[in-house]
């Protein structure tokens, strides 16, 4: 029999097989599509964001260089122009051939266009018949003779015509073009005849001079100076007599020994398909092209290339990719688990069928082949469907403002399906194949008989329970949690740390594995729990309730897979939402912390200090408006003065550089941003202590411990305000861990009374004014530079890494919710189908339809409730454990103030509502099926169910 025929039959079988379980196939398909789309959206997004940044950076560099906005993939190789000795035309042939024929192939980029520009040395231009003198007094000007390929398509002739190509021994004058500017400058008109006085040393070192007749054939102007054609600004050619390249080569070149004074190759490639996966190779090839050209024509330089920007692009994109994958690991892990679980469910349904075929003599390999083919078919279709979804998700990520908030202005995204993207999809497909293969291997061992025998022994615990897999998995999780506690942070956007990230990427798996292990543990303990419930409900009169509880307590194996799905998806949703909310809140807190209050600005007052040099004894003399003026002027709630100056303190014999902050203790506590965990006491309490001690000092506890200082010690602080040094002896009266604007990496912060400082310094210095605003009332404060936390928050939200992570988390949350729905419906479907016989029997022994419905409803309710409770608890627990270590900040302000995990109850409640509606839908579906159920059919179907 032909292979094709056999294949066709197997494909037909696979096709029918997929259709025979439409619900399950659809669920697997949806899981695959979502998993692939999310995985693929990460490289799409990263690439798009950084490609955009890259394009911008290329353009920015060039505009600041006062040249044209060049296309991003423009390369300019230049030789000569006074930097190198002029060469002969023949010397450039090698490099020319390389650049014009091989380079595009080497780069692997399509060449948009290439421009070659030859130019001669500048020569004096004399009117016809003029006498040549040494000082060129009679010359109308000096001009290069140059050629630019294809220039005629980019210029407009204001008069005359394009020059005629002239050959070597032509008697006619050489026809040239001049720019409008040159024509006006030298008062040249079309048809004028001149001659160029060419002078050069030949190879024997003897000067040769030639007079070359020249006629102005036309006057030109750039059609569009912004045309990407222009390798340099068109104005550069104002000094040139433009000739066709043929003229340059045939007429001019033979006359002069070293005719090439300068040569430029300008190549513009189409980089639209450059993705981050090829950038590394491209940079290498640019480098090697540069070396190659130097070898071909020593002294040639690569003047314009996007190399540096590409390097940056590559580095940033790599870091972002790593970060997004790291944050996406829980989501992707869950999706994979979902795929595996649906496969397991599907296979449970198929085991009988596999056994039947095996009993009929099918080889094991055939069964595996059929399984793999099925998966490939599903996976291939899923990949096709996932591509547009991935693009949509990447776009969505580009619009992310915050968690589940896609209100940001859409980024301009270049969507590119690079090999990396497809690879991401294919990896998911391979994992799905594996998930299909492993259980198929097991199932295909059995014939009908051994399968039935095994089923008879089904009372055995599942494999993971027998192996204590849940407990074993908890060990690495505990170790990971311990490591995190030691290390302090999971991810930081920093080169150094991102290396750490690669060193130990498994740390990112810890939360996911933790969730899985705990969910499994929960499944292990659940029968016990339900046993207790059964014991309780045994005392109620409800048959249905008792049956439901008993059923669940006795047959944990039957529903463990869907329940696992429920628990995992819910806990993951809770974790994701909480992570996002925590990061969001932290950005706000950090912004307020670093700014200090709702709005701050510096009040420089009016400087009335006499003279520039501050004579000893004569203090500064600033005059300030009272802060209450600002309150009246702006409608703010309150305002306070905060004086922040650099300071050096003598701590236990060491000079410690830090900052001094003087506060108005009366208003400060109501205006400054404060969180309970900043200090052992409330801000009001600290201010009260300062009020009682005018010379009091508040210090970070960390530094006090480091220098063995105690409360009551006197510290000498030298405050350096506007070049006036004031010595303060302050007594430590209180401690804090954090204080608004205090960054420990910048040295300790000494907080004292502002009035006391001004008093000791002899005069007030410029200070900051901190305002507490009322609502969102817009505030205008003269010309002062205003610092608003909002600005920092907005710019923080637009950082690509943050946007990407929030997009990732949002998309992950949506995916987890979607999978929850699918998982739940699968459960309902399966519990109903599996129990068709049982229900038939129960109906046959006289359970009423209402009792049946109640029984099923109770069972569903138990499971939903259990799943929801366990999922929420697990999610919260993992959140509190791991979220503090998942940060996206960088620099010295990382983790300041500390990240306080927040549980996103609103998102969790959304999931609860989803659960509730699912429960109702499931119930309705069951009721519907129950009404349609025919007892005899249920019983007759027997084993087929």
């Amino acid at each position: 029999m032909s292979i094709v025929g056999r294949l066709r039959a197997i494909i037909l079988l696979v096709y029918k097989r997929i259709l025979s379980q439409p619900g399950l196939s659809l669920a697997s398909f949806a899981g695959l599509v979502i998993a692939m789309a999310i995985t693929m959206s990460i490289p799409i997004y990263t690439d798009a964001v950084y490609y955009q940044t890259f394009i911008k950076s290329v353009v920015e560099v060039d505009t600041s260089g006062a040249t044209l906005p060049r296309p991003p993939f423009a390369f300019m190789f230049r030789y000569g122009d006074g930097l190198n000795n002029p060469v002969q035309l023949e010397d450039t042939f090698g490099i020319d051939e390389y650049l014009t024929t091989s380079l595009a192939g080497e780069f692997g980029l399509p060449l948009n266009f290439a421009v070659r520009h030859y130019r001669s040395e500048p020569y004096p231009l004399y009117p016809q018949g003029a006498a040549v003198t040494l000082d060129s007094a009679a010359a109308v000007g000096w001009s290069h003779v140059s050629s630019v390929t294809d220039i005629e398509e980019h210029i407009t002739l204001l008069g005359g015509s394009h020059p005629v190509v002239s050959a070597e021994n032509d008697e006619d004058p050489m026809e040239v073009l001049v720019s409008r500017v040159l024509a006006e400058k030298l008062t040249l008109t079309v048809g004028d005849n001149f001659f160029l006085y060419l002078r050069d040393r030949n190879s024997d070192g003897i000067w040769v001079t030639i007079s070359l007749p020249v006629r102005i054939a036309g006057v030109w102007e750039a059609t569009d100076p912004a045309d990407p054609f222009w390798l340099v600004r068109p104005a550069v050619f104002d000094e040139h007599l433009l000739v066709p390249e043929e003229t340059f080569i045939q007429r001019l070149s033979p006359l002069i020994p070293d005719e090439i004074y300068g040569v430029v190759w300008y190549l513009v490639f189409d980089g639209d398909n450059v993705s981050h996966s090829v950038v590394g190779g491209l940079v290498e090839r640019i480098n090697s092209a540069q070396q190659r050209t130097s070898a071909l024509l020593p002294g040639v330089r690569l003047l314009v290339s996007p190399r540096d920007q590409l390097v940056t692009y590559l580095r940033d994109a790599n870091i972002l990719n790593a970060l997004l994958f790291a944050f996406g690991v829980p989501v992707i892990g869950l999706l994979l688990m979902f795929i595996v679980l649906t496969r397991v469910l599907a296979l449970e349904q198929r085991r009988n069928e596999i056994a039947v075929l095996r009993s009929r003599g099918a080889m094991r390999l055939q069964m595996i082949g059929v399984g793999l083919l099925e998966e490939l078919l599903l996976g291939g279709l899923a990949l096709l469907a996932a591509v547009p979804l991935a693009v949509a998700l990447a776009n969505l990520m580009g619009q992310t403002r915050s968690f589940l908030n896609f209100g940001s202005e859409a980024r301009e995204m270049r969507v590119l399906l690079s090999p990396t993207v497809l690879l991401a999809g294919v990896i998911i497909l391979l994992i799905a194949l594996l998930a299909q293969l492993v259980p198929t291997l097991g199932a295909s061992r059995h014939t009908v008989i051994t399968y039935k025998q095994e089923r008879a022994r089904w009372q055995q615990r599942p494999l993971w329970q027998r192996l204590w897999l849940d407990i074993l998995l908890l060990i690495p999780v505990a170790y990971g949690a311990y490591l995190l506690r030691q290390q302090g942070s999971l991810a930081v956007m920093d080169n150094e740390i991102s290396r750490n990230l690669f060193e130990n990427p498994l740390l990112f798996l810890v939360p996911s594995i933790g969730l899985l292990a705990l969910a499994l543990l929960f499944l292990r303990l659940m029968p016990l729990l339900l046993g207790a419930v059964t014991w309780l409900v045994a005392h109620t009169p409800s048959v249905a309730l008792l049956m439901a509880a008993r059923q669940l307590a006795r047959t944990p194996g039957l529903y463990s897979t869907p329940l696992l799905l429920l628990v995992l998806t819910l806990s993951l949703s809770a974790f994701t939402a909480s992570l996002a909310q925590t990061l969001d809140t932290h950005l706000v807190h950090q912004s307020y912390y670093l700014v200090g209050a709702d709005l701050t600005f510096s009040d420089f007052g009016e400087d009335q200090t006499p003279g520039q040099e501050a004579a000893p004894g004569s203090g500064p003399n600033w005059i300030f408006r009272p802060v209450s003026d600002y309150v009246q002027a702006t409608g703010a709630q309150a305002a306070t003065r905060v004086g922040a100056y650099p300071a050096v303190a003598t701590l236990a014999g060491n000079s410690v550089r830090g900052g001094f902050v003087g506060v108005d203790r009366f208003d400060f506590s109501s205006i400054a941003f404060w969180r309970g965990d900043f200090a052992g006491e409330s801000l009001g309490g600290l201010m009260n202590i300062l009020a009682l001690n005018p010379d009091g000092l508040l210090m970070p506890a960390e530094f006090m411990a480091r220098y063995s200082l105690q409360l009551g010690d006197v510290v000498r602080v030298v405050v350096d305000a506007y070049n006036y040094r004031s010595v303060l002896d302050l007594r430590i009266v209180g401690t804090f861990d954090l204080f608004p604007t205090y960054v420990p990496a910048d040295g300790p912060l000494y907080v004292g009374n502002l009035d006391y400082f001004f008093e000791r310094a002899g005069a007030p210095f410029p200070y900051q004014v901190w305002l507490k605003l009322e609502g969102d009332a817009p505030v205008t404060i003269g010309a002062a530079t205003v610092r608003l936390p909002e600005n920092r928050i907005i710019s923080g939200q637009q950082r690509p890494e943050r946007q990407g992570i929030f997009g990732m988390l949002s998309v992950g949350f949506l995916a987890a919710s979607a999978l929850t729905v699918i998982g739940f419906l699968l459960y309902v479907l399966f519990s109903f189908r599996r129990r068709l016989i049982e229900m038939g029997v129960l109906r046959a022994v006289g359970l009423s339809r209402g009792q049946m419905a109640a029984y099923l409803a109770w069972e569903l309710a138990f499971l939903t409730l259990l799943g929801a409770t366990a999922g929420t608890l697990l999610g919260i627990w993992t959140s509190t454990l791991f979220i503090p270590y998942m940060q996206i900040d960088s620099g010295p302000t990382t983790g300041i103030p500390p990240v306080l995990p927040e549980i996103a109850w609103s998102a969790i409640f959304r999931i609860y509502i989803l659960f509730l509606s699912l429960f109702l839908v499931g119930l309705a579906g069951m009721a519907f099926s129950l009404r349609r159920m025919k007892i005899f059919q249920a019983i007759k179907m027997g084993e087929t169910a």
Partner: protein, 328 residues
């Protein structure tokens, strides 16, 4: 029995199932010889070992000891790949439950074609043969129907067609009429007989149906994992005009070691336990009860007693002893 080379030979066949620490001896030295083309019925109470024997004959299970030859294959020593081939080429099965026979989402014809596909047959040849088989079981018109659209008897007949798809030499049917009414059962038996005749198939049918003897050449009875009795037709052709006239005779099987199983009813009637007295008479051997036997219970009962008295170990044993002690 003819002088032909036998098709199936079971010699002292033993099958022991082991689940956890519990051993069950399903076959305890079964002997059976079946000639090629024979149509055999097999009866026995549940748990007597019929299905075990069928599984072994079908290559779905391996015997623990003894010898079993089917059509030249030594099923005790056969390799896994040969076993695959054996299952594919030698045997066809029909089970009581159609779930074991058929793939529910395929049509009747597709079900028949599937084993052919897997074995590497295809194209027009495959289609033709599948149609022929469906025609042979009388379902040619219903070949495009899905299984759920077929009645139990029809499903069973599709199963027979599927079983024959690979042109096996041996057809095994495990209670094929168990789930159908007697009318349908008759049709199914009729199908078996026709196929047996037309294709020269060696066929073994397991049944609870007491009337099976009417439809087969020979009925073997299995009791406690051994062949106990055979019922053979006396003189008449099996397709008699007049079924009432047929005479069957049940013969007790005497194994190679000279053992035989005496039916429990006979033993019960004469209250024979433990030991008997054999007397050689002119007509044969006479089995007589022994009066006032001391050890009349037999070994089995004795072991049960001993098990009751077995001293329990561990904490539980201590508790039991304590309780026993306090009661004593």
């Amino acid at each position: 029995m003819t002088a032909q080379e036998p098709f199936i030979v079971c010699d002292n066949l033993v099958k022991i199932y082991k689940v956890a620490n519990l051993e069950t001896v399903a076959l305890q030295g079964l002997d059976l010889v079946v000639a090629p083309g024979e149509l055999i019925g097999m009866v026995g109470v549940s748990g007597s070992g019929k299905s075990t024997l069928m599984n072994i004959l079908g290559g779905l299970d391996r015997p623990s000891a003894g010898r079993v030859w089917v059509g030249g294959y030594d099923l005790l020593k056969i390799s896994d790949s040969d076993l695959n081939h054996y299952r594919r080429a030698m045997v066809g099965f029909v089970w009581q439950q159609s779930a074991r026979n058929l793939i529910p989402y395929l049509t009747a014809q597709e079900n028949v074609e599937l084993p052919l596909t897997l074995a590497g047959t295809g194209g027009a040849e495959m289609r033709e043969w599948a149609l022929h088989l469906l025609d042979a079981v009388g379902l040619a018109q219903r070949r495009r129907h899905h299984l759920s659209e077929l009645s139990g008897g029809e499903q069973q007949r599709v199963s027979i067609a599927v079983a024959l798809a690979n042109r096996p030499q041996l057809l095994l049917a495990d209670e094929p009429t168990g789930e159908v009414d007697s009318e349908t059962a008759l049709r199914i038996y009729d199908t078996f007989q026709r196929l047996n005749r037309d294709m020269h198939l060696t066929t073994v049918i397991v049944s609870h149906d007491p009337a099976i003897a009417r439809h087969v050449d020979r009925v073997v009875a299995i009791r406690d994992g051994r062949l106990a009795a055979e019922t053979v037709r006396q003189g008449r052709e099996r397709h008699s005009e007049n079924a009432q006239d047929e005479v069957f005779e049940e013969l007790t099987v005497l194994d190679a070691a000279g053992r035989l199983q005496v039916p429990k009813e006979m033993l019960g009637q004469l209250n024979i336990r433990g030991r008997v007295r054999l007397e050689l008479t002119e007509q044969g051997i006479l089995i007589k009860p022994v009066e006032n036997s001391d050890h009349a219970e037999g070994a089995e009962a004795l072991v049960d007693d001993l098990a009751q008295q077995r001293p329990a170990r561990g904490l539980w044993g201590a508790l039991r002893r304590l309780r026993g002690g306090s009661q004593a």
